[in-house]
C-alpha cells in the first residue's frame, strides 16, 4: 500500500445526523477466535436488537419483515465478524462493529487491524470481487476450489452480494508502520426507495 487511504467499491462516509439510529460494539478478535461461538452470538444479538425496528409480517409493506430482517442481518454480520476473527494480526486486535440505520438501508461498518502483507492480499481479493461478475466468479471459484480445504477465497463476500443483495465497500487506512485499519462496509437495503 502506497497511499495512506485506499477506498474500493461503494463506500460512504458517515453523514452526521441522518441516521434513524446508530450503535457501535467493540470486541477483541482473540476472544472471538478462541471461542468461535462468540462470533455467532454477537451477530445474533445485534440482529435481534435491530429486528425490533422492523414490523411483523402482517404489517410489513414493501419492506423487510421482522423475522426476515433478523435472519438476514445475522447472516451478513456473522460473515463479516468471522473475517475479523480470522484475519486480525496486528495492533490491539480490536474489532469495531458500527450499525447505522438510514431511511431505506442499513450500513454495517466492520473494522479490524492487519499487517501490510495481509492488507495487500485483502486488496487483491476485494479487487477481484468488485471487478468481475459476482455470480460467475462464485461458480468459478467453487468449481476450482473443489479439492482445496483452505479458506480466504472471498466466497463469503460473494454470497453476501449474490444472495443478500448487499453492496460492499472497502476502506484501508495506514495507521502506522506495518499497521493497517481495514473497514468493510456492507449496505443492506430493506425498503424500496
Amino acid at each position: 500500500m502506497t497511499d495512506p487511504v485506499t477506498i474500493l467499491g461503494e463506500y460512504r462516509d458517515a453523514v452526521e445526523g441522518t441516521a434513524v439510529t446508530e450503535s457501535t460494539v467493540h470486541l477483541k478478535s482473540d476472544d472471538l477466535f478462541q471461542n468461535w461461538r462468540r462470533v455467532s452470538l454477537s451477530a445474533d444479538f445485534i440482529a435481534r436488537y435491530y429486528s425490533y425496528f422492523f414490523p411483523y409480517k402482517e404489517k410489513a409493506q414493501e419492506m423487510l419483515d421482522r423475522e426476515s430482517a433478523e435472519n438476514s442481518i445475522s447472516f451478513v454480520l456473522n460473515e463479516l465478524i468471522e473475517n475479523t476473527a480470522k484475519y486480525s494480526d496486528a495492533g490491539k486486535k480490536e474489532v469495531e462493529i458500527t450499525i447505522c440505520m438510514l431511511g431505506t438501508f442499513v450500513l454495517f461498518n466492520i473494522s479490524n487491524f492487519v499487517k501490510e502483507e495481509l492488507a495487500e492480499s485483502f486488496l487483491k481479493v476485494a479487487h477481484e470481487i468488485l471487478d468481475g461478475d459476482p455470480e460467475e466468479l462464485y461458480i468459478k471459484k467453487l468449481e476450482k476450489n473443489i479439492e482445496e480445504t483452505t479458506g480466504g477465497s472471498g466466497l463469503g463476500y460473494l454470497t453476501l452480494i449474490n444472495d443478500f443483495g448487499v453492496a460492499l465497500g472497502f476502506r484501508l487506512e495506514k495507521m502506522g508502520p506495518d499497521l493497517v485499519k481495514v473497514t468493510v462496509q456492507a449496505k443492506m437495503k430493506f425498503k424500496e426507495a
Binding site: 435472519n71 447472516f75 460473515e79 480470522k86 467453487l142 463469503g156 444472495d163
Partner: protein, 114 residues
Amino acid sequence: MELKGEDFIVALNESKNAVEFFGTIRLRDSSDYKSISDLLEDAHGKAAGTLILDFRNLQFLNSAGINTISKFVITARKSEKIALRVLGNEQISWQQKSLKNLQKLWAQVQIEIH
C-alpha cells in the same frame, strides 16, 4: 449416524434416504466442516435412487457451510450415481436466498422450499 455439535445436529436417516440438519451450523473453516462432508460422502455411498438433504430445521449455515454443501453437490453431479432432492423452509430467509444456487451447480437438483 449422527453428528452432534454444541449448536447443531446432522443426522443420516437411512430409512428416509435423508441427511437432516438441525440448529445453527457456523463452523470456522472447511477443516472444521470435514466431519459433515464425510457424513455426506457416507450418505452418498449408501444411498440408492434419491438422497434428500433436509435443511428445514436449520436456522443458520454460514458461507463456509454453504461451500461444503455446494462442493458435495458438485461431487454428486460428477459421479451421477444418485439424484439429489433439497428441502428448505421458506420462513428462514437465508434458505430462500441461498439454497436455489445449488441448482446452478447441477441443474437436476430438485429444490423444494415450503
